[in-house]
Structures are given as C-alpha cells and as structure tokens.
C-alpha cells in the first residue's frame, strides 16, 4: 500500500491538454495540394489504395474521410505538389445536429463504443483516451457500458455483414436525442478493404452519422477534437 502511494505521488499529475503537445515532423496529416506545381499526371490518383483522390476538371480533391494517410501519393508525386501537413484536426460535422442537442450534452456526454468491423487500431486509440495523459473525463465525457446509458455512439470499422444487426440494434437501444460519430477511415468511408462479400459499407449505410473523424487511425488528440467539435465547445477552449 505504501509502495503504491509512493509511486502515485512520485508520478504526479501527467494529464495534458489534448492539443498541448507538438506534432512530430514525420506525422502524416491533412493532404495539401499545390495547384501551381501540379503537372496533372494523375499518378497520385492511380497510386491511392483507398480511392481518396479525385480530379474535378483540373482540380485535385482529397476525400480525407477515405484517406488512410499512407503517404503513397506524396511518394509518387515527382513535382512534390502533394504534401502531408501536420494538421490532424479534420473532423467534419454534418448539419443535422441542432444547437439544442449540442447544448444538452455540452457539459456531460456519455459514449458507447461500437466496433462494427474494425482492425482494432481505432479501438485502441479510444482506449488511450482513458489513460491519465488524455484523461477524457476532464472534459465531462466518459465511456459507458450500455447503449441504454449513452448519448453518443462512436462507431469504428467498416460495417461487416456479421455486425450489421448488432449495430442497428445498438442504435435502436440508444435513447434519443443521440449523436453518432464515425471514427476512422473505415467507418467514415467504408472503402479501406475495397469490395467484399463480407462488408456492408460505411457506418452511414446502416445508421445516420453526425460527425466524421478521419484517420487510420485518428490519433487520440484528433478524437478529442472531434468530440469537442460535436459539442460546440472549441471556441470556449480557444479563448
């Protein structure tokens, strides 16, 4: 017991603000495209294993929700017109969330995780939110054991044939009003493994999704950013 206390006191408080640390130089975040240097060779389009790159006329469009941040497009671009920046705050909110819902959950949000067919990387990053460094509870947000206790579902993975029913039933069991977050490229785009007899698609093919968090997997800071964005609490923290 004494040893335990000594260890705790010696370790002290290790909790950080989610955006406190610097992003390492090698981190592959948002894709930036330089129109002036691009030769439109479209090698990036052919190289993308996730179907995240498209051209609209001469403009390159990146679907960050499908991007697996592998860096292959950047590697094949001879003109260096594509680069990964350090920006990880890529969450996108759909408009259907009313201000009233957001204000209801603003100070206290309970989450149920649903793995709908994930590789477990997103799941592990969600687990990391509970570690003393990110300490999700400091934001009044916590994970709960049952969808019946939850305000939000965080869905990871492509929805597999074998989990379609479980996902639909979990959504039904969650009381309204509720928020649904699609975590990572699989849940957000459903494209990571291509077409398969065993895959239904993205999370929004089965349940309505309110917020998409890109990443493969999204780093814990990106998840917290997405949560605070959904709750309309970012301004509050920036000020």
């Amino acid at each position: 017991m004494l040893n335990l206390l000594r260890k705790m006191i010696k370790t002290g408080c290790v909790t950080e603000a989610y955006d406190g640390g610097s992003v390492p130089p090698r981190f592959r975040g948002e894709l930036a495209w330089q129109e002036t240097t691009c030769q439109h060779c479209r090698q990036c389009l052919a190289a993308c294993p996730a179907g995240a790159i498209a051209f609209s006329g001469e403009r390159l469009i990146v679907d960050h929700s499908a991007c697996i941040f592998c860096g292959r497009c950047v590697a094949v671009c001879e003109q260096q017109a594509l680069t990964h920046t350090g920006e990880y705050r890529l969450s996108e909110l759909q408009n259907q969330l009313s201000g009233k819902i957001r204000s209801m959950f603003k100070r206290s949000l309970h989450i149920r995780h649903v793995d709908a067919g994930s590789c477990n990387a997103c799941d592990w990053e969600m687990t990391a939110l509970n570690n003393p460094i990110y300490d999700l509870q400091q934001y009044g947000i916590d994970f709960v054991a049952s969808p019946r206790h939850a305000d939000m579902l965080m869905i990871t993975g492509v929805v597999t044939r074998n989990l379609t029913q479980a996902l639909a039933m979990t959504y039904e069991a969650t009381p309204s009003p509720k928020i649904v977050m699609a975590v990572g490229a699989c849940a957000a785009s459903g494209k990571v493994y291509g077409n398969s007899y065993a895959i239904c698609g993205a999370a929004d093919t089965v349940v309505p999704v309110d917020i998409y968090v890109p990443g493969c997997p999204p780093r814990p800071a990106a998840l917290i950013y997405g949560l605070l964005l959904a709750l309309d609490r970012l301004e509050e923290r920036r000020n």
Binding site: R72, G117, C119, W124, N130, P132, R161
Partner: protein
Amino acid sequence: MISAVQVIPASTLRAAVTALSHGGRYRLTAMFANDERSINASFAVYAIFFSKEEAEFKTIKALIKQDEPLEFPSITPIMAAAAWYEREINDLFGLTPLGHPDLRPLVLHENWPQGNYPFRKDFDLGSMAGASTEYLVPPVQGEGVFEVPVGPIHAGIIEPGHFRFSQAGENIINIEAKLFFTHRGIEKAVEALSLDEALFQAERICGACSIANTLSYVQAVENLAAAEISPRAKYLRVLAAELERLYNHVGDIGNLCAGLGFAPGISHGARLKEQLMRLNERLTGNRFLRGWITLGGVTMDITRELTGDISQTLTCLRKELDGLLSLLRDNDAFLDRVNNTGILPQQAALDLGVVGVAARASGVDTDIRRDFPYAAYRSFSFQVPVYTEGDVAARLWMRADEAIQSLGIISQLLRGLPSGKLITQLRPVEPYKSDFSVTESPRGSNLHWIMTGENNTIYRYFVRSASYPNWPALTVAVPGNIIPDFPLINKSFELCYACLDR
C-alpha cells in the same frame, strides 16, 4: 521460405498427415484451401507443418478433382488443431471434411445464405440464393444450470465476440465462443489486386499486429521474387517488430490490471504504453508504425537524433516498467487473483497448436524468431522465457520478461546498425507460384501464404495469425473458473479478434 511440398490425392490425406506427424515431430501450423480449377482442374487443401527439431516446414497439398465429390477425409479426429481450419474450408469453399465432429458454420454466420461459397472463383455476390440458418449452441443441462450470454457488443472498448457461458452458480461449466464478427473477407478482397496494392490491406488486417502482418506479407512476396533485401532494411524491420512487441506487452500488462480492477496498475501501464505510441509516431508518423515496412525494404530511415530518442525513451521506460512490475509482484491481493487462474495445460497447448505467449506460459518452448529466424534475428542474442504454470500469472510474467528481452534486442540493434539502401526493387513474380512467410507477432507465430496470379497480382492470399490457434485454447482454460475471472483470463491471452476474423 524453402518448404518441401508433397502433392497427394485428397483421399490419402489422413495417412499422409499421420506419417508426417508421427511421434509429434511435425505439428500443424495452418490449413487452408485454394480453388485451382483453372490451373489443374482441382481444388487443393494445403496443410503446413513445422518441426522445431528439424527447423523445417513441410507442406501437404491434397488435390480434390473438380468432377469428383468435393470432400476430403477430416484430420480433426487425429489432430484437434485442424478443427477450425476445416470448418473454415467447409464455409468458404464448400469442401466437406468427412468425419469432422462439429461442422457448424464458423466464419459465415446465420445471416449467410446456405450453399454459397465466396472463395470459389466463380462466386457471384449478385446472384446469391438460399436460406439463412440458425446458430446452434450445444446445451449444457442439469439442475441449476443456466446460461449467460455476453456480446457481441461488450461493456468495454473492445472488439466484438459472442460468448455463451453455461453456469452452475458462479462456476463456468462450458464456454462457447462465437467469433468472426469482424470478418471482412480481406483475403478475397485482395484477389486480383497487384502485390503493391494489397500491402495496404495486409497492413490493416489488425491494428495491434500491423507490423507482424505487414512483415509476413512482404517477406512472402520477397520469397516469391527471390529478392534479397539490404542488411540495414532488415535491421530496421526488426526494430519495428520489437517496438510493436514492446508496446503490446507493456500495454497488456496494464490492461491485465483492468481485468481485476487494480486502478494504479491500469494507469501506469496505460501511461507507459502512451510513451511508446508517441515514440512510434515520432519514428514513422503513425502510432501503430504503419507506413514503415514496404515491399523490398523500409520507407524511412532513422536519423542519429531518432536513435538517441529511442535510447532515451527506452531507458526511462525500463525504469518505469520495473517500478510497475514491483507494484504487482509484491501485492498479495493481486497475486491471489492471478496465480492458479485460467490454467491452460501443456498437453492442451500442444494438441491445439497454441503459439506465442500462451504456449510459452504453458511450457511449450517455441519462438519463430529463434526456431526459424527471419529478417536480422540471427544477429542478436536473446532469451526465450518459458513458464510451466500455464496460469494468468505465467502469461503476465512472460510478457514482462519478453519486454525486457525486446529492450535488449533494440539496444544491440542500435549499436550495430549496418549501412545499406532502404529499398531493393523486386522483379515481377511468375503467375501461379506460391510461397509463405512466418513471423513472431506479439501474440505468436503469424503465417501469410500467397499464390500469385497473372501480371504480379494475387491469386490467393491466406493469413493465419497467432490468435487463430489460440482462441480455442481460451475455451479450455476458462471452464472451472468463476465468471468474474473470465475478463482476467481473456486479457491474459490478449487475442485479437481482427487478426482472427480477417
């Protein structure tokens, strides 16, 4: 990988397997099928065996002619380890293992229309017909016996699986595990993709085994292309593999504390794991080390600053890890829960072909890094710890010992990092050649088998992760314990659902 292939008619499979495994010299590593009707007018059932004493893999390829009955003699009655492989072959290919004691569907659940076999080359998703089935759980009956269903959506942040406990009071009589909920059909989805493209799917079979899966995949392709990669790339691959083992083992020690509600252990373990994940991100830009290993080598070098960063981070980690372990080793309340809980007997581990931490904790001395070295493992000296108790505690201390060994390997590696280019270009591979590679993931041996198609594409891809043979072992270790100990026993095996389900 050099492996002898013995081609036989399927009807003689049982005799061939008996001859090979006689006296336990060769043990089953993996078993799978392939639709080779366009190549040799047959389906093939492959069974790969390994002998530690001979340091050799041997493959039996049993052919079933397409115009004969699509069946083969089951080897499960003589070799329990084959049970799930044969059920999977039955599900995906519609090849019936005759004499199999339990042919319930395994991979395809009751939602799947009967009589459709997705791994046959002429399978068409659009024209599926047939009735769905019911999932049957063998009943356990008796006075006061009841069932506890759990999952597939669990209470924690974990992967999906359904467990059906048969209970008498708190004691577990039987546990049925219904898995493959996250089955994504990755092996089928990569068919006809180029070897380059499929790399990204292989890397995403599992998060916590990203490196092990990628390494097995690229080594299998490099074997096919008869490519020799540079010593530096081999060293960096070992670095990646050991960093993956380290963050898994350290994280698992913390997670195991969650299985019995020991909060300081959970917090310290999670904090140490976070330090390792951040190191991974500094080295490769991804916390799961994704994007580092590629065909022919590695994509990124480590600079002198990063070498210093690794040494410094791991020196601190060693000290902290010792501190965490001393909290556990001296804690009677903790030891009371982990000692003698969830025992996997050595004979069960051998019979089921259990691998990795779970095998070594039950007295089975096996480690692919030592028994069949790959990448640069021959260049390092390390111990393979073995415990004989087979309980939760043995699996826990095993991870602690292995983490220390990993630190030793990394420090040898950083001192002697050879020079060399990072990537060797691979030449195209001839069609219909097959080869495989086995690596030691944090959970045990991990086998990837590839047959190439036309134009450097994949014809058939098979993945046997460490969790595959280890899941059935859980159902042996759990009965006889009380239900509150199930999470603890489960965490001590720390099996991936994603790796198993694919």
